[in-house]
């Protein structure tokens, strides 16, 4: 009995389990700590929290300095993610369906913002916009965020186009539908999960993006992450703990939405069981 318990099989099983639990705990630790400490009564964040209060949550609603940046980030995310998805759709379509010279190079070019360090992208675009005298911060950020988020859209949309059964399109066209009708009525509904997931990833990426935004924001026109950074850089203010908790709730919502729309297996690229 004892020998069986300490068999190599059990030991290796237990050791991978322990490593997994430890690693997952390591991932969860910052999330648990920030949510937990936001309920403490001390005037600085501490964990474990002392006492219990909701006063920091009340104070969140009087943080007027965050309203404009939040609005700006939401607008920016909506616009950049939508443009990136539409452009990503056309690029994926061209790359999956057509053979043309320089196809691989084109695909790599569009994916390159993933490999190029964000700080390099940020500085390059900053230099570009100032050389051209483009001083509208919102437009510049919109262009920059579209460039940075396109790869996310392309990757998920390409994946769903690759598994799409092309004979469905051929059937629709042989029945007299034109290319646009076929795309809107047959192709798009089939690849919708990939398109929606691509949009969500692009939005999440834009909404959380700090490096490019800190280069391209201007006085009075800053994004939410930049403003958040200004507040958390030097202090561990509990009101920011409450703000963080709201952001984590938003993440939870996003994770469940992704699971609902595309399923966790698709996100992970597994066959599922």
């Amino acid at each position: 009995m004892l020998r069986k318990m300490f068999s190599v099989r059990n030991l290796s099983n237990i050791s991978t389990l322990l490593l997994t639990v430890f690693s997952l705990g390591f991932l969860l630790l910052p999330i648990v700590v920030i949510v937990g400490s936001s309920f403490g009564t001390t005037s600085y964040l501490s964990f474990p929290p002392q006492g219990f209060t909701l006063k920091w949550y009340h104070k969140v609603f009087s943080l007027t300095e965050f309203i404009d940046p939040l609005k700006m980030s939401i607008q920016l995310g909506l616009i950049a993610a939508t443009i990136a998805t539409i452009l990503g759709l056309s690029v994926s379509f061209a790359v999956v369906r057509y053979n043309f010279r320089g196809k691989n190079m084109l695909n790599n070019l569009f994916l390159s913002p993933l490999i190029i360090p964000l700080i390099v992208t940020a500085q390059a675009l900053y230099l570009f916009f100032s050389a051209l005298g483009m001083r509208t911060h919102f437009t510049n950020l919109m262009i920059a965020h579209t460039i940075v988020t396109i790869p996310y859209a392309i990757r998920t949309i390409t994946a769903s186009l690759q598994v799409f059964d092309i004979t469905l399109e051929e059937a629709a066209m042989s029945l007299g539908a034109n290319r646009l009708e076929t795309f809107l009525k047959v192709t798009l509904p089939q690849i919708r999960p990939g398109v929606v997931a691509g949009w969500l990833f692009a939005f999440a990426m834009s909404f959380d993006e700090f490096v490019v935004a800190s280069f391209l924001s201007g006085p009075g026109r800053i994004t939410f992450p930049v403003q958040l950074f200004n507040y958390i850089r030097w202090s561990i203010n509990p009101v920011m703990g409450a703000v963080s908790t709201f952001l984590i709730l938003f993440t939870l919502f996003l994770a469940f939405a992704l699971d609902r729309i595309v399923g966790l297996n698709t996100i992970l690229g597994t066959r599922g069981k």
Partner: protein, 287 residues
């Protein structure tokens, strides 16, 4: 009938290139911006905000002979490598468990934890690490209980930056590895075991070699993300532990020395790309 389908296809062959046009404009803009960055790295620095068009290698000489910059470069590579290894060590077991766990509920729980960590704001997580690693933070409380007292804050140390980087990288490792491990046929493991190999031998002789392509891809991704880490050192390293990206930022926006900032950015790009290229060669040999 067949003709009309073909005609559609031919005409729309052009349509798709019209569709590509706006994306191409955007990519072109990006390429021009990068070219400008490269060009500015050869310009001459006059005073803050002012530079002179020229073609000088002076900025590169300045960068590569300055002990401060070289120390930052060395630290960036070192922390990226250490964090990559640690992220793989932590990410592999999670990925393996996600693929092989029989209970779909536990599997889903694992995936959700990784996904929440992946999607939650990096600023929020770093803010929390500051609470954890601070002088009165969780780590020091635990160490205090164990009898080590009078400890200093962990903030502004390489340990803090490495910790933050690892926690940022683990989800990327898992998202890369799960798909690869999933493709390994469990029958192969059973076969090895039925031939007398124990769990450990099976892992090192069968499972690990078969997941090597995923491990290489994940480590490449981690290394690149580590090399370009910016907010992590900014929040956890402060003024003490700066990485290469922080030098680019400081020179560009605080000192307003565009030539040297561009030089640092180009060097960052080159150091990343050399590794990507040699890795891809390694990957091709693997396949």
């Amino acid at each position: 009938m067949c003709d009309s389908v073909l005609n559609h296809a031919r005409r729309n062959r052009h349509a798709i290139f019209y569709l590509l046009f706006p994306s191409l404009v955007l990519v072109l803009l990006f390429i021009i911006a990068l070219a400008m960055l490269l060009g500015y790295s050869f310009y001459e620095y006059v005073r803050p905000g002012v530079m002179k068009p020229s073609f000088t290698l002076e900025n590169y000489v300045t960068f590569l002979t300055s002990s401060t910059y070289l120390r930052v470069l060395y630290r960036t590579v070192k922390i990226s490598l250490i964090a990559t290894v640690l992220a793989l060590v932590m990410g592999y077991p999670i990925s393996y468990r996600i693929v092989r766990t029989k209970s779909s509920l536990i599997r889903k729980l694992y995936v959700l934890i990784v996904l929440i960590s992946f999607l939650s704001s990096i600023l929020v997580r770093l803010f929390s690490w500051r609470v954890i690693l601070g002088r009165t933070g969780l780590i020091n409380q635990v160490l205090d209980l164990l009898g080590f007292s009078g400890l200093h804050s962990f903030l502004r140390t390489e340990t803090a930056v490495t910790t933050g980087l690892v926690s940022f990288l683990v989800p990327f490792v898992v998202l890369t590895l799960v798909g690869v491990i999933d493709k390994i046929d469990p029958e192969l493991e059973s076969a090895a075991k039925s031939l007398g190999a124990n769990e450990i031998t099976t892992f090192f002789k069968v499972t690990l070699p078969l997941s090597m392509s995923g491990i290489l891809a994940a480590s490449l991704l981690c290394y690149c993300l580590g090399m370009s880490a910016f907010i992590i050192p900014l929040m956890l390293g402060g003024d003490v532990v700066k990485l290469l990206a922080n030098v680019v930022y400081d020179q560009a926006l605080l000192v307003v020395n565009f030539p040297i900032a561009s030089t640092a950015a180009v060097i960052l790009l080159v150091v990343s790309f050399v590794v990507i290229a040699s890795y891809q060669k390694l990957l091709q040999q693997q396949l």
